[in-house]
């Protein structure tokens, strides 16, 4: 029997419409807007001003702390302005807007397709250069990668787990990276292993991607210490704690980080970005995103430059269908609806889902019938129905006691609720408040 995580989980319709579509390069737009905060942590500080000439790969905003990330120009051209523009959630955030002129790269970036297997950089060098390249977790959470690679003193990493699960329905970008950039991903994995000083890496892939499992298993024979671990398809296996439970059968304690059980988890897209940064000197200026939806003409995977407007990628996939009711940034389970098609794609954009109107409409909320389905599907073993009530009634003490902070916001509870109660919305609200209270107490 295939491995999976120990408790909870659901299996929504997979709808991997774009799995057969090879990654294509999205044409460079005329104007890009690159937000200075595309990661968890402190926003970067812009170091360019209006009128500056920039090249592809040039640093335009500097990391402003340990948990922060550098931002590089994804295009060459002139800085049009540094201004507040609307982000995907509709709030105005500082961005660097660049008018594109040609495609001139910085000279030290190696743009050849040639595979470089030899890892010459040392452990410290790797961590430093991953930080310099502005690499963040590309699974969607955008946590700066160099922070995860810096193992705190007193702790040791035993195993690196590469998250190639892609448990979100519809999304196929990681799947395509594994098929098309298999060797690069494996070299990236070895670089990460070197940085963490571990000699074992496990790549977890769900069994709805048999071609990726077969391809990587064949390639992995040439690399030492990398094991491919096929997993039973189950949402939310891509959650760090769930993946650790599935692959090495260890449970991360409440409130602790994976390093507590000797594991470090990185996304497969991150491994590819690390390969490019260390072997090719290329900072994180582009990534792969899936554009998909049942009514979309051409669901496909695109390599886009950071800062490209959402409407460009929709145009490339055959234009917006008439019946679009909601555009979701990310997958259907954890993604968020975006406020406008003019907003830029960022480091965290793993996909764009155009949902038809009839599928997006929320159904009327009814009373909780205490069926307990939300409890049985919660992968963290929480009681979502109770947390929702506590959040609604502002009982923050009880929320904290009932471990609301362990919620990974996967949305399994809301998905499964037969009364269509917006469980996660309330839990997320309560989690935010409890987080504030806990920080204030420190």
């Amino acid at each position: 029997m295939l491995k999976t995580f120990s408790i909870g989980g659901i299996h929504p319709a997979e709808n991997k419409l774009s799995a057969e579509s090879a990654i294509q390069a999205l044409p460079i737009p005329q104007m890009v807007s690159i937000p200075i905060s595309q990661h968890i942590g402190a926003p970067a500080t812009p170091i360019v001003k209006k009128g500056d000439e920039v090249k592809v790969g040039q640093l335009i905003a500097k990391s402003s702390g340990f948990v922060s990330a550098n931002i590089h120009s994804s295009v060459s051209g002139t800085v049009f302005k540094v201004d507040d523009i609307m982000d995907a959630s509709g709030f105005r955030r500082t961005s660097v807007i660049i008018k594109v002129d040609g495609d001139e790269w910085l000279e030290h970036i190696d743009r050849s397709e040639e595979l470089v297997k030899e890892i010459s950089a040392s452990k410290e060098e790797i961590i430093k250069r991953v930080g310099d390249a502005g690499i963040v977790g590309l699974g969607g959470a955008t946590f700066p990668a160099h922070v995860k690679l810096s193992v705190p003193p007193g702790k040791t990493a035993e195993v690196l787990i590469i998250n190639a699960v892609e448990c979100e329905p519809y999304l196929t970008s990681d799947h395509r990276i594994m098929l098309e950039k298999g060797d690069e991903v494996l070299v990236g994995t070895q670089i990460l292993m070197k940085a963490l000083e571990v000699n074992k890496a496990i790549i977890g892939i769900e069994n709805n991607k048999p071609d990726a499992i077969a391809h990587l298993t064949k390639l992995a024979a040439n690399y030492q210490g990398i094991e491919i671990c096929p997993l039973k398809t189950q949402y939310p296996q891509g959650g760090e704690k769930q993946l650790i439970s599935a692959t090495i059968k260890r449970e991360v304690p409440s409130g602790a980080l994976p390093i507590e059980v000797g594991a470090v988890v990185q996304n497969v897209g991150t491994a590819y970005a690390v390969y490019e940064a260390i072997q090719k000197n290329k900072p994180l200026i582009e990534r792969v995103a899936t554009v998909t939806g049942k009514s979309l003409k051409n669901p496909s995977n695109w390599m886009f430059r950071i800062g490209t407007p959402v409407k460009d990628i929709i145009e490339a996939a055959g234009g917006m269908p008439e019946d679009t009711g909601k555009i979701v940034g990310g997958g259907p389970m954890m993604g968020k609806a975006i406020a406008s098609v003019d907003v830029p794609l960022t480091k965290g954009s793993s996909g764009l889902l155009l949902l038809p109107r009839e599928e997006t409409a929320r159904k009327a909320t009814k009373a909780c019938i205490r069926c307990g389905k939300c409890v049985s599907v919660c992968p963290m073993g929480l009681e979502p129905y109770l947390l929702m009530v506590c959040a609604d009634k502002k009982d923050y003490e009880r929320l904290e006691k009932d471990a609301v902070m362990d919620c990974i916001e996967c949305g399994s509870c809301s998905f499964t609720c037969p009364a269509h109660r917006p469980l996660l919305d309330y839990i997320r609200l309560g989690k935010g408040k409890v987080g504030q209270i806990m920080r204030a107490r420190k």
Binding site: G90, F91, A339, D425, Y426
Partner: protein, 316 residues
């Protein structure tokens, strides 16, 4: 017979022993409570709204009795009358605090602030605010889901279906501040009620630059500083593209209301102006009327902009 007598006697004996023990225990563990706490609590309005910042009227009474100086304490529900009564009970001088009232600082009605998207999530302002900027282009204004109305314990608020904004019923508002805390966008403020309930305030909290604010909402404060220059009492400050009127300095001269190009400054409960026919009407109709006034005023401003454009193109 004797069984009944013995039973009664035994019970009496137990009762007396228990009473004696309880008497000494009560003496030993007696907790002294200031009798004035009860008196003060009696004097308070028993609304238990928490507007004073203490957990209910009892909590407030305890704090009042404990305090050496009660001039910083105020019961917003009872106002000056209750506070002077409490002052008399405790033997303190009490200065009458100015009565305040809640004010909604957003005039982004459906007409003034067009919707750019549709929200169909859980009907709660805090949840909407935690997800995104709201249904309109303005990320600062009213989200229109009525969490403030739900928070009000005094039936002093309702949602106006036509405008999509909350309305405060002045006579019922006790200024407890529950709505202020409930609003995730901080658009409600407790302001001085003013003589004859007359007051002036900037009905906007948009901190975006003028052009962005104006594009999102017709009646947004664009931070043009005209009111700041006009004010003879230095009561108006413009910070982060947003004007704010200090109600302690404001002398209610209404000069700022006239100069505001977007009608973002509201006056409430003033008699109609005599000299101008297009005067602002009074309190209860001021919101929809302000919207209409905006439409009337708009053409006046626009031709100027057009003229200058034409001139420049001619020059070219």
């Amino acid at each position: 017979m004797s069984i009944i007598a013995i039973t009664i006697l035994a019970l009496c004996a137990i009762g007396v022993t228990a009473a004696i023990i309880l008497y000494f225990v009560a003496q030993k563990f007696k907790v002294y409570e200031d009798p004035r706490i009860d008196e003060v609590e009696e004097a308070l309005p028993a609304a238990n709204c928490g507007g004073c910042g203490y957990p209910g009227c009892r909590g407030f009474a305890e704090a009042l009795v404990k305090a050496d100086d009660i001039s910083n304490f105020n019961c917003p529900v009872g106002g000056a009358a209750v506070m002077s009564h409490v002052g008399a009970l405790l033997g303190h001088e009490v200065k009458a605090a100015d009565p305040t009232v809640a004010v909604v600082r957003c005039n982004g009605t459906c007409e003034n602030r067009p919707k750019t998207n549709q929200y169909d999530g859980a009907a709660s302002c805090s949840i909407a605010a935690s997800l995104y900027s709201g249904e309109t282009g303005c990320q600062h204004g009213c989200l229109g889901l009525g969490e403030c109305v739900e928070a009000c314990n005094f039936d002093a608020m309702y949602m106006d279906e036509e405008t999509g904004l909350p309305v405060i019923i002045e006579d019922k508002c006790v200024s407890c501040g529950a709505c202020v805390k409930a609003c995730p966008n901080n658009i409600i403020e407790l302001r001085k009620k003013g003589p004859k309930s007359r007051r002036i305030f900037v009905s906007c909290v948009n901190k975006d630059k003028g052009a962005v604010a104006k594009k999102a909402c017709n009646v947004a404060c664009i931070g043009c500083r005209k009111c700041e220059k006009e004010c003879p009492f230095d009561a108006i400050t413009v910070e982060n593209n947003l004007a704010y009127i200090d109600y302690n300095k404001c002398k209610l001269c209404r000069k700022c209301v006239v100069v505001c190009p977007t009608n973002a400054i509201h006056e409430l409960n003033f008699p109609p102006r005599k000299e101008k026919p297009a005067a602002k009407p009074d309190a209860k109709t001021v919101k929809p009327a302000a919207a209409k006034a905006e439409v009337k005023d708009a053409p006046k401003a626009e031709p100027k902009a057009n003229d200058s454009k034409e001139e420049t193109s001619d020059n070219k």
